[in-house]
Symmetry: C2
Subunit: 242 residues, 2 copies
DNA sequence: GGGGCGGATACGTATAGACATAACAGCACG
DNA sequence: CGTGCTGTTATGTCTATACGTATCCGCCCC
């Protein structure tokens, strides 16, 4: 069922054509939300194919959230879930490569500790949990672009205790080694205080973007990170379709 | 094929079980990226079902981006596209309902105009295009939560010219009436200047989150909006899985 | 008039079989 | 030695059929 996702150079399969035709009529506004689309049997007649072929196309549209289906009632164009957007979080190294500038990071702090009560609650970890605390600055060219403040739960990632992160930044290291099954993002704005301003080379009081991310694996916390982007030089971008 | 997305209260179909089993092994890290998953015929044997049944489950996994398939070679666990996150943008009215507080909005400005050169470029519209310019404040309870500054291209949405937006805020109105096929988000931080501080009831200089969204329909711009969230009271949250 | 019942309907799921196609592997021939 | 042919294999696609099941709609009876 990946045909409709690929460039339509290859001659589309029948299922793919049905899928594309209906998708076009929906996104073009031809069939607004709530429209009842033809029954499986009707479509099967129109395309001179079996009901299963139509069914595969419609099932794919359900999976994409474009239609909903009810027994006996029929298939209907779904309400657009516009409030969901695919947000692409920047990878600093990639961003630097795109700008043709060198990327580097510096480890500012690196310590093993046990969490106090307040810190444990903030991180969603049990009181006294052993964690690795890493602080790190990312730079593109000569300008700092972000400050990263991260806790890694050693219960979930024991190997992190032996890692210095001097060659690979902690985010990249974790992505490569640890699977994750759930995550949560929070994005907010804050004003840079004196120490943050110094680290990021911005004026004190300048607005910064803070991305807070918590990651779990099979219900157990893996890592908690605050990434503070340097002032108005940085922003997050996302492009998406319904 | 929507079974695996629903709560598993209903007894899962065979296709759904195969789907879930494989999905679990992938997200659990049991089968890391690149692992070849059993052939369709093998799985059909294991589950004592026909190849079509397995095929439907695997097709759904392809659509979700969890696996890739190559003829003759087999099916493989895909590289995780971790940098994609589903970001849920808050709907003010819904947020207010959740807090059991009244929501209301006020139209602060409402004018028909033609775009100057600079404004047209910023909005991605042709110079001289007729637009509706609306500014609006959203409040939950008695506190303002966001300031909305929106341009609506009348070429794409002629009906907007006759709408006062006094009952329905412009964002909601557009969502209900106009289909869209592409959008772009930019999130950045800014410091509130004097007028913004007054509108949002925050201290001048306080950091605010700005969500800039441009929407197209069939390649033609529909609307451009800046939503400025009131200081540190507001933030964006997203929860997601690989 | 209204409430319950049953039939018709449209989707949900699964089967078995068929042929097409891409790709790999091994063999043979130049 | 490498190049091309061919057979095997796994997926891709489609058909025809079957039965389950939720739901709608209209009929009938009270």
């Amino acid at each position: 069922m990946n045909a409709p996702l690929e460039p339509p150079i290859a001659p589309l399969s029948l299922t793919g054509r049905i899928h594309r035709d209906i998708q076009q009529r929906i996104v073009s506004g031809d069939w607004p939300a709530g429209t009842r689309i033809p029954f499986e049997t009707e479509l099967a007649g129109q395309y001179r194919c079996s009901r299963m072929t139509v069914n595969k196309a419609l099932s794919a549209l359900v999976q994409e959230g474009l239609i909903t289906r009810r027994r006996k009632a029929g298939s209907f164009v779904a309400e657009p879930k516009v409030e969901q957007a695919v947000m692409e979080i920047q990878d600093f190294a990639m961003e630097a490569a795109r700008l043709n500038l060198p990327y580097h990071h510096e480890i500012l702090a690196h310590s093993l500790k046990r969490l106090g009560v307040a810190a444990a609650r903030a991180a969603g970890l049990p009181h006294g949990a052993r964690v690795l605390h890493v602080m790190c600055r990312h730079s593109i060219g000569e300008r700092p672009v972000a400050f990263e403040d991260r806790l890694i739960a050693l219960a979930a990632v024991p190997a992190a205790a032996d890692e210095q992160f001097d060659l690979i930044p902690p985010g990249t290291w974790l992505l490569r080694r640890v699977p994750w099954s759930q995550a949560e993002h929070t994005i907010r704005a804050c004003c840079a205080d004196a120490s943050l301003a110094r680290v990021l080379d911005v004026k004190p009081g300048e607005a910064c973007l803070v991305l807070h991310r918590r990651t779990w694996h099979l219900g157990k916390p893996v890592t908690t990170v605050d990434i503070t982007y340097a002032g108005e030089r940085q922003h997050l971008v996302g492009r998406f379709s319904p």
